[in-house]
């Protein structure tokens, strides 16, 4: 029983830390900054290195 109680307490503390982290990360500021950019550049896209394979082929063409 002592082992089960210990395991329960360990997981409870671990998840408590994660919950505190999730609540402390302020995503409001991030959302505001993203909205600020997208308000004048309206058609936003995911910023990845290469838009498509065609672009990649061009870059690595020998």
């Amino acid at each position: 029983m002592r082992f089960l109680t210990g395991l329960g307490i360990a997981f409870f503390s671990l998840y408590l830390i994660l919950a505190v982290h999730a609540l402390s990360v302020s995503d409001k500021n991030k959302a505001k900054e993203i909205e600020a950019i997208s308000s004048h550049v309206k058609d936003t896209k995911l910023s990845v290195s290469f838009k498509s394979n065609e672009y990649q082929r061009f870059v690595y063409a020998k």
Partner: protein
Amino acid sequence: MRSKNFVEYAILLLFKDKNDHLFSFLIFSFIVFILSSTLFISDSLQEDLLNSIKSQPEIVVENTRAGRAYAMHDGFIYDISKITGVSNVEGIVDGYHYFAQKRLWFHIIGDATLAKDEMIIGQGVKNAMAELYYNEEFHFFTEERMIRLKINKIAPKSTTIISNDAVYLHPNTARAVLGMEMDEYSKLYVSVPNPNEVGNVSLKIVEIYPSAKATTKEDAISAVRHLYYYKGGIFMILYVIALVSFFILLKNQISLVYGEKKKEIAILRSLGFCIKDIIALKFIQNTVVSVSAYLLGVAMAYIYVFMFNAPYLRNIFLGSELENSISFTPVIDINLLFLIFLFGVVPFLAFVILPAWKIAISDMSEAVKS
């Protein structure tokens, strides 16, 4: 309700055979960790992208010629603005500039709020430029000339999801960099105040210009939802294959172990343990193993993705060519975690308890003799 001593005995047995249980614990934790990490990343990216397309116009028009993106001129704006239901049409400059020294593409975006000599760059672009000592200004090499621009501002780190490869310029400067004429546009933003008319207007645009592509806001939202659709289709099949292979491995291992433990089960039976007790014993042991493995896998995935920003794994989602310092917003889909629990822990218990039950109902005198 089992007595406290019975539970303690089950835990004692668990420790006695810890090496056998450790294998399934580690493999199961790892599978839950990988599954949860992938889903945490895709959910987080999706959430931020959906936030970013809130102000997207009702329709975005792009033109093609010979299957490639092609510029539009003022005639397009005039024709589309004459369609009933359209309140405004705005021409946009947008394209890609090849940065040959680093073999990278920069996304050039026209932003009318900037001055002609102003330039805002994303974090990834800043790092790529800095590697070649472009710290104060940058030189765009075009077919005709070299355009020298001062780096005025860096886009905030929190916006790297949409700005990492972006260079924001005044539309006319962007045209000069992209080699476009003054009356040319890459895209048109079409405003339609009545949401019921959006579908009709987009059909009319394609009717007037068959080579054009009209993307409605709804299409853009569903594209984002399907960008990393790891909950369905081919990815679901991959998950199922991974889980089934794990369970086959687990079943083989358990059968092997239980073959050796036949004598132990037989002794317990002869001591007065009924089949129900044997199953309860194995159930308690394996519930501790599987639930702990599940909780550990999910917690590790959270720490890996939201605290350490998923090193290595994020490159699969965002590419590794342009350094991306993205920070993932914690988004947790409880339904999905419950689904992983349901498809992970329940079959795990079933695969372990079935062999134990099979042995418990067999002839015990034979087992004791062997």
